[in-house]
């Protein structure tokens, strides 16, 4: 049943994907209300799928890549709805809907194997670490999206030749506000996520854990975001420079996510 709910959610999210495609290709926002409603409804089904899955396997659904992907997609949907409720940004949906769809699609493909049987993973550290990281990634994805939108809108305003995007993107300050707020949520989460991961890793793998490629890369990612937070706080870095760093941080995040060699890999050890 859980897979069914997930697929229903996927079907609803596909309306969001449709909206994004139509909006980019056409000049006006189309079917946004429909896509918004479908996403909200889809998120409900998605939640049901997650809860059912968790109850069926008797653990918080983050033990496999498939489960984590599904959770990430759900958090993305949830945070989008939150951002829309707070800011009423229509345009951010163009970035968010496709990713939501892709993630949900990936997780709805098949069940995948559950690794809860492995002694390595049968600890609370797993849930804590993975959940924190996923929450952090979701928030920092929004920081990335805000960074991209900021760069586009700023270029429009500087060039003094407003084109199509100018009218549809939100005000500059509002975009920067979203970037700032999502950073201030995302950074603590990944910090805690890395700490919890570190504590867990040192207890399992001994002292060589910081040299594992994925873990080392996650440190680098974390440092990028740290410098962003510090620069914002101390010298009031904002706008364009902050956007560049947010993009760099997101790229580092993707690289970290994609690195699967060494101790900390997602495939069976």
């Amino acid at each position: 049943m859980q897979l069914l709910w997930l697929r229903v959610a996927l079907a609803l999210y596909s309306l969001g994907l449709l909206h994004s495609i139509l909006t980019v290709v056409g000049r006006k926002q189309r079917v946004f209300r429909v896509a918004l409603g479908a996403t909200a409804l889809g998120a409900v089904f998605h939640l049901v799928a997650l809860v059912e899955g968790g109850l069926a396997t008797q653990h918080f659904p983050v033990t496999t890549l498939q489960e984590a992907t599904s959770l990430a997609a759900f958090l993305l949907a949830g945070s989008f709805l939150l951002v829309y409720w707070r800011y009423r940004f229509h345009s951010i949906s163009v970035f968010v809907f496709p990713l939501m769809f892709v993630l949900t699609f990936a997780s709805a493909l098949d069940q995948g194997e559950t690794y809860a049987g492995l002694p390595l993973l049968r600890t609370a550290w797993l849930y804590v670490h993975v959940s924190l990281i996923i929450l952090g990634y979701t928030a920092l994805f929004l920081t990335f999206v805000a960074g991209v939108m900021y760069l586009i809108q700023e270029r429009e305003l500087k060039s003094k030749k407003p084109r199509a995007f100018y009218h549809r993107l939100p005000p500059l300050e509002a975009i920067d506000d979203l970037a700032y707020k999502s950073l201030s949520i995302g950074f603590p989460f990944i910090t805690l996520g890395i700490i919890s991961g570190g504590l867990w890793a040192s207890s399992v793998w001994g002292s060589a854990w910081p040299l594992d490629p994925k873990i080392a890369l996650s440190f680098i990612t974390w440092l990028i975001y740290l410098s962003l937070v510090f620069a914002r706080w101390s010298v009031g870095w904002r706008g364009r420079k902050a956007a560049y760093f947010a993009i760099a941080g997101f790229v580092a995040m993707l690289v970290t996510w994609g690195t699967n060699t060494g101790l900390h890999s997602f495939v069976s050890p």
Binding site: Q153, L157, K160, P171, E173, D177, V235, G236, G239, R240
Partner: protein, 422 residues
């Protein structure tokens, strides 16, 4: 049912001619009654604004003379020579007249497409015509429909959505940069109509306060009082600039009063919070190189005009869609008016009752078979008499009441309750 619209507008006549034909509001009732006195004219409405004078009339029959008659009426009522103004007048009939009034009401025919005043002006012309009894059911329907179409066009197309004056463009840009203008402060350097107007618009849109600086302190005080702000010394403008989010500059200074270095300093003092500089002066007050700085947005008078031009182009594009909507609505209105015409309705009503009469007689023919011809004739006469008596009040009411403003609703009601096909 025949429509005829005659008049002149900014598109066909210069202001010297338009002002000769303009109707003062107080004269409108008299004028309308005089128009109704013209042969064949049964309903009329006159629209007189600074950009157009038009009369829309409904006539029972149209022999082609209504147009010139209306034109002559306009000239004579305003004591002008018809021959002189004749070449400025345009004439629209039937569908074209309806389309024209729709376009006018939606501001598609205005000097600045998308302007919002014209709809109010058309509404007031309608109210005056209605009050003095010059409107009948048909024009009532036409005009009320034109208001709905105007609203539809304004909401469904972008003809009214973006700024087409320099000062509004400045406000629009400020909102694009800052989002809400609440809590934002303005520094106005120098003086001038456009900068004052921009400052007023910004304050109206929610800006928190304004500082005014001028080489002449008294002038600064004056302006500050008008705008409910504070005057500040001219030599301290950079310090005050750091506290403000929007800077409007229009002094007559021959060179730059704000250099790129000055701008950088202001930014640093503001800890890089964004600042919007509007330089309306010619020669410019602010070094254009400043625009290269991060978090600073500098627009001079040409840039603002460019924004306005781009918006105007956008409005023209949107106007095409507006025209399409107007065309569709004209079709809908015409078919609706056709069904609500009184004469066809009376015919349909008679036909329906006659059908019923004949059917009932046919059904009973078997039982009436053994009547004498005289008796059968009597039965026919009874049924016909009944039908006529039943029809008499509705038909005479339709003929008279349908001429009144709410008349078409009466026609519609009759059609509905007697189930006459639409």
């Amino acid at each position: 049912m025949n429509f005829c619209l005659v008049g002149l507008s900014h598109k066909t006549a210069p202001v010297e001619v338009r002002e000769q034909l303009a109707f003062p509001e107080d004269d409108l009732p008299t004028a309308l009654h005089a128009a109704l006195a013209l042969p064949e004219v049964s309903e009329a409405v006159i629209l007189s604004t600074c950009n157009r004078v038009e009369i829309l009339a409904r006539a029972e029959t149209d022999d082609g003379n209504i147009g010139p008659a209306l034109g002559r009426f306009l000239a004579e009522f305003r004591h002008r020579d018809f021959a002189e103004i004749e070449r400025y007048l345009y004439e629209y009939r039937q569908r074209d007249a309806l389309r024209h009034i729709f376009r006018v009401a939606s501001s598609l025919d205005s000097m600045v497409i998308g302007e919002s005043q014209i709809l109010g002006q058309v509404k007031s012309a309608y109210a005056i015509a209605r009050a003095c009894g010059a409107l009948g059911g048909t024009l009532e329907e036409v005009l009320t429909r034109s208001f709905a179409v105007a609203k539809q066009i304004r909401t469904e197309t972008g003809i009214a959505s973006s700024a087409v004056s320099v000062s509004y463009a400045a406000v629009e840009l400020a909102k694009k940069i800052f989002g809400s203008l609440e809590g934002k402060r303005i520094l106005l350097i120098g003086a001038g109509k456009m900068s004052e107007l921009a400052a007023k618009h910004l304050l109206n849109s929610g800006a928190a306060g304004i500082f005014v600086a001028n080489r002449t302190p008294e002038r600064a005080e004056e302006l500050a009082a008008t705008l409910q702000g504070r005057a500040v010394p001219f030599d301290q403008i950079l310090q005050y600039a750091a506290q403000c989010d929007i800077l409007i500059s229009s002094t007559g200074a021959p060179g730059f009063i704000v250099s790129k270095a000055d701008a950088q300093q202001v930014l640093t003092e503001r800890r890089n919070r964004p600042i919007f500089l509007i330089d309306i002066a010619v020669p410019r007050n602010i070094d254009p190189e400043s625009n290269k700085l991060d978090n600073l947005f500098l627009y001079d008078i040409d840039d603002l005009q460019q924004v306005v031009n781009a918006n105007l182009k956008e409005r023209l594009r949107e106007a095409h869609r507006g025209e399409q909507i107007a065309e569709q609505e004209v079709e809908r209105l015409l078919s609706r008016l056709k069904t609500l015409d009184v004469v066809p309705t009376i015919i349909d009503l008679r036909t329906r009752l006659e059908e019923i009469r004949v059917q009932e007689l046919a059904r009973m023919s078997s039982q009436l078979g053994d009547l004498t011809p005289a008796q059968r004739e009597a039965v026919e006469a009874i049924t016909r008499g009944m039908v006529n008596k039943i029809l008499h009040p509705p038909v005479s009411h339709l003929k008279t009441l349908a001429q009144q403003p709410d008349g078409l609703k009466l026609v519609e009601t009759v059609r509905r309750i007697f189930n006459l096909k639409p």
